[in-house]
């Protein structure tokens, strides 16, 4: 029994490590020199192997052992990291994940044939990276062939004047390749003003050795240009870039500006090179060269003795030491912040659920106590219970806070999805994430993954056009999928957007007509038309791909989200893009409610949705008896009589009130007898038997022990609005007949 528990710990731990491994691997794709990431990947494999051995999971140990060996070689710099290796390691990670999943399903399971075959294939691929293979990597070959120019160094590492300083050494083959060195300098002069040029003939060999077809020239140029940045200057030499040595140092006055830019960059970039590139003080090409050089040096020296990237950059005279210092300071800050974030305690989810349940019971018991205290008319007791209920409220809030998790982790998983799917589809698509720190209930986060996955895939497959089409429409060839999350009046909005072709209103309308979902005379708003794609078996895609287009899916998405008491809507502009908005309740357990009475029954609406309460006076009561809408300060407010809606048979009360509720920008009124004020509502789900009831989303227990129903405000608003529209349509029809 205890061993089983330990095995569960192992499974959870492995999954976390694999997740971290994936993140680091994806990170390596953009910055292949991140030593911390390589170490983290190695450690993940190492720990999985070590712990797997404790449980006698030989399959995992044997496979992970090979992966670990390869990673060890990567770590020591024997194997260079590149796209192919990262892709292979990602597959290996998936394979280990699969093995762990199998163990989780059945701890005695043996891998089936298919799994085994995958494993063998991966092992074969890994073998090429293992020790004993050819050591001569392509990098060290180029290292030797790279021209080492022994020429006069530039006057100084720093630039005192207010001009750009450009050191230029042409390669020997420049003339043979048909380039005219002077043409570049003339071109440079067009962009600004060349202040000073020094020609360096030092590389010129003695006459017998000289080849008249080779170029031996070097130049030191002082250049002044308004609004010119480093990349632009580098661009001048684009055609000879691979065949010359180029150093560009910015004017002195720019250093301050760069330092400021570095400090203003967002916190999350922690690679030195990236910081400098982002601030504009270093070009991508210069960074790549420096990283390359660092790799060569690493191979030559041992790991520790190899110089740091910052030192290389300064030595190569591509950035000033001040800037490197500023970037290093910034990097340290970002790392410290990161370390602080990871102070976590792991708790089992069911313990937390139990706590929330108990807090729920406490809220109900507290309400009962306050009620009794009110009846006794004892001021001291009254005071004590009100302190108690304030504390209960605080405990409730902090208990619920424990269940809140950031949506970022769910979002980050899509980096991999977008990368893989875009490769499958042959489209160039990036992912941008916003609002990753937005918090929502853990149970909601767990259930939102699948619908989001579907929407993201849909966007990539159908939303974003092929590169040619995008170019024709004047958009960047690279498509983007956005994930965004934010809070909005008591609910959380998660958006999945793309900058693709958008929905075709006419096509959807025609398809819906054909399927008989609507009639031709119906006058629908854009949002309503787009909403039709959530109907079952609805698909306008001409071609079914293996990702989407079969017409199942969007209705499943909607059903999943409605099961979480959420709603979904689409906004789209043809040619510009589509955004799907998912609106979800903040929590599923305890909410602040507003209690109202109709006849003998009590009802609760979430307090966040209540806009205002107004009295329905005698005149309005008579007037509104037929029409079901009133004039609220000049706007039409449709309303529902809860008395009629729930067929309450008791005597009509003397006074009635309207509670104005709002959801997703729509307003409606609920007519009730009595307003009873705020109430902490512990949501109890309705039994299966009542699952189909429209207009009720759950129930709760009052302090007196009675049951109150929680109203499903979105459904009621829709009902009020649609009845309103029907009435309007009817009256229009009457006019035509008349």
């Amino acid at each position: 029994m205890e061993l089983d528990q330990a095995l569960q710990t192992f499974i959870v731990e492995s999954r976390e490590l694999l997740e971290a491994m994936e993140e680091s691997l994806l990170g390596l794709e953009s910055s292949p020199d991140d030593h911390d990431a390589i170490n983290a990947i190695f450690r993940a494999a190492h720990t999985i192997k070590g712990s797997g051995g404790l449980f006698g999971l030989d399959g995992i140990v044997a496979f992970t052992h090979v992966v670990e060996n390869v990673l060890d070689r990567v770590r020591s710099g024997e194997v260079p990291i590149n796209g192919d290796l990262i892709a292979l390691l990602l597959s290996c990670r998936d394979y280990i994940g699969m093995l762990v999943d199998q163990i989780a399903a059945d701890s005695a399971a043996q891998p089936d044939k298919e799994t085994e075959a995958t494993g063998i294939m991966l092992l074969n691929q890994l073998r090429t990276y293992q020790a004993g293979e050819k050591k001569q990597s392509p990098i060290s070959a180029t290292a030797q062939s790279q021209p080492r120019m022994a020429v006069v160094p530039p006057p100084d590492g720093t630039v005192e004047s207010d001009h750009w300083h450009i050191s230029l050494r042409f390669g020997h083959d420049v003339l043979r390749n048909g380039m005219d060195p002077l043409a570049f300098i003339r071109y440079l002069d067009n962009m600004g003003k060349i202040i000073h040029v020094v020609t360096l003939p030092d590389a010129m060999p003695l006459a017998p050795d000289m080849d008249p077809e080779s170029c031996y020239l070097g130049f030191e140029i002082d250049f002044h240009g308004d609004g010119v940045d480093k990349t632009t200057i580098e661009g001048v030499f684009e055609f000879v870039r691979d065949d010359c040595t180029l150093r560009i140092l910015p004017p002195h006055s720019r250093i301050e500006e760069y330092t400021r830019l570095i400090n203003e960059l967002p916190e999350d970039k922690i690679h030195l090179g990236e910081l400098l590139v982002n601030s504009g003080s270093l070009t991508r090409k210069e960074l790549d060269e420096a990283l390359h050089l660092q790799q060569i040096l690493r191979a030559e020296y041992s790991q520790e003795a190899a110089p740091k990237l910052g030192d290389i950059l300064v030595e190569q005279r591509v950035v000033q030491p001040e800037l490197v210092d500023a970037a290093l300071g910034k990097q340290k800050l970002a790392k410290e912040n990161k370390a602080q974030e990871s102070k976590l305690i792991r708790i089992q989810a069911d313990k937390l659920d139990q706590l929330i349940n108990l807090v729920g019971e406490m809220v109900i018991a507290g309400a009962a106590t306050s009620l009794l205290a009110q009846r006794t008319c004892d001021p001291a007791l009254h005071e004590a219970t009100s302190t108690l209920s304030r504390l209960v409220e605080e405990i409730r809030d902090s208990a619920l806070q424990l269940r809140m998790v950031q949506i970022g982790e769910t979002f980050n998983r899509f980096n991999r999805v977008v990368r893989d799917v875009s490769k499958d589809l042959g489209k160039d698509i990036g992912l941008s994430i916003c609002g990753a720190e937005t918090e929502l209930d853990k149970s909601v986060v767990e259930k939102i993954g699948d619908p989001l996955m579907h929407l993201v895939r849909n966007s990539m497959d159908h939303g974003i056009e092929k590169a040619e089409v995008r170019r024709q429409r004047g958009k960047p060839a690279k498509g983007t999928v956005h994930l965004n999350a934010y809070h909005e009046s008591g609910s959380i909005v998660v958006e999945v957007g793309d900058d693709g072709g958008g929905l075709n209103r006419e096509k959807i309308f025609a398809k819906a007509l054909e399927k008989g979902l609507i009639t031709a005379s119906q006058n629908l708003s854009d949002v309503e038309v787009y909403g039709l794609i959530f109907e079952a078996w609805f698909s306008t895609a001409e071609q079914v791909t293996n990702l989407s287009g079969r017409g199942v899916g969007m209705d499943v998405v909607r059903r999943n989200i409605e099961a979480l008491r959420g709603t979904v809507e689409i906004d789209s502009r043809e040619g510009i893009g589509t955004t799907v908005k998912i609106r979800l309740p903040l929590t599923l357990a305890i909410i602040d409610g507003f209690l109202m009475g109709v006849g003998s029954a009590s009802y609760v609406v979430p307090l966040d949705m209540v806009m205002e309460c107004i009295e329905l006076d005698e005149a309005e009561r008579r007037e509104s008896r037929e029409s079901n809408y009133i004039n609220l300060r000049g706007t039409v407010l449709p309303f529902i009589r809860l008395r009629d809606h729930f067929r309450e048979r008791s005597k009509v009360s003397r006074r009635e009130n309207i509670v104005v509720v709002q959801y997703a920008g729509q307003k409606a009124g609920l007519v009730v007898d009595e307003l009873m004020g705020e109430f902490q509502t512990v949501i109890k789900p309705l039994g299966k038997l009542f699952g189909n009831l429209k207009g009720i989303s759950g129930s709760t227990i009052l302090g007196s022990g009675e049951v109150a129903l929680i109203l499903d405000v979105p459904a009621l608003i829709q009902r009020a609005a649609s009845r309103d529209a029907q009435l309007l349509a009817c009256s229009q029809a009457e006019q035509i007949v008349a």
Binding site: T9, H46, T47, L54
Partner: protein, 122 residues
């Protein structure tokens, strides 16, 4: 009196297993997930034995062992390494830092108990 053992390893599942074995025999356990964590937990406590992994984030096992040797309170605390690391160099380094024994994962329950009872301070 129960003897207190400190266990330093970044793997939850390994700590879980060792805990089952050692607590079953009546030892008290302090767990830490890396060298830094362990050092902060050592502060002001008496431990009879330290069991540590080598390959860990933040602070690795060898650095941790050397740091322990510099703490006046724990200068003579016996240390066992429990690790997968086979390199002779790190073994030598560990021996020089005063590590008493070296166990290779996956460990055997009886062997672990035997080691612990042999080395734990009276």
């Amino acid at each position: 009196m129960t003897k207190t053992i400190m266990l330093v390893d970044d793997s939850d599942s390994l700590r879980h297993l060792v805990r089952i074995v050692l607590e079953g025999e009546g030892y008290g356990l302090i767990e830490a997930c890396d060298g830094c964590d362990a050092l902060s937990k050592l502060n002001g406590r008496k431990v009879h034995l330290i069991i540590s992994d080598i390959n860990m984030p933040n602070m690795d096992g060898l650095t941790f062992v050397k740091a322990v040797r510099n703490l006046p309170d724990h200068k003579f605390a016996p240390i066992i390494m429990l690790t997968t690391n086979h390199h002779e160099a790190s073994r030598k380094e560990a021996r020089e830092a005063g590590v008493k024994a070296w166990m290779v994962k996956p460990f055997d329950k009886l062997q672990l108990l035997e080691m612990v009872s042999r080395f734990a301070m009276p």
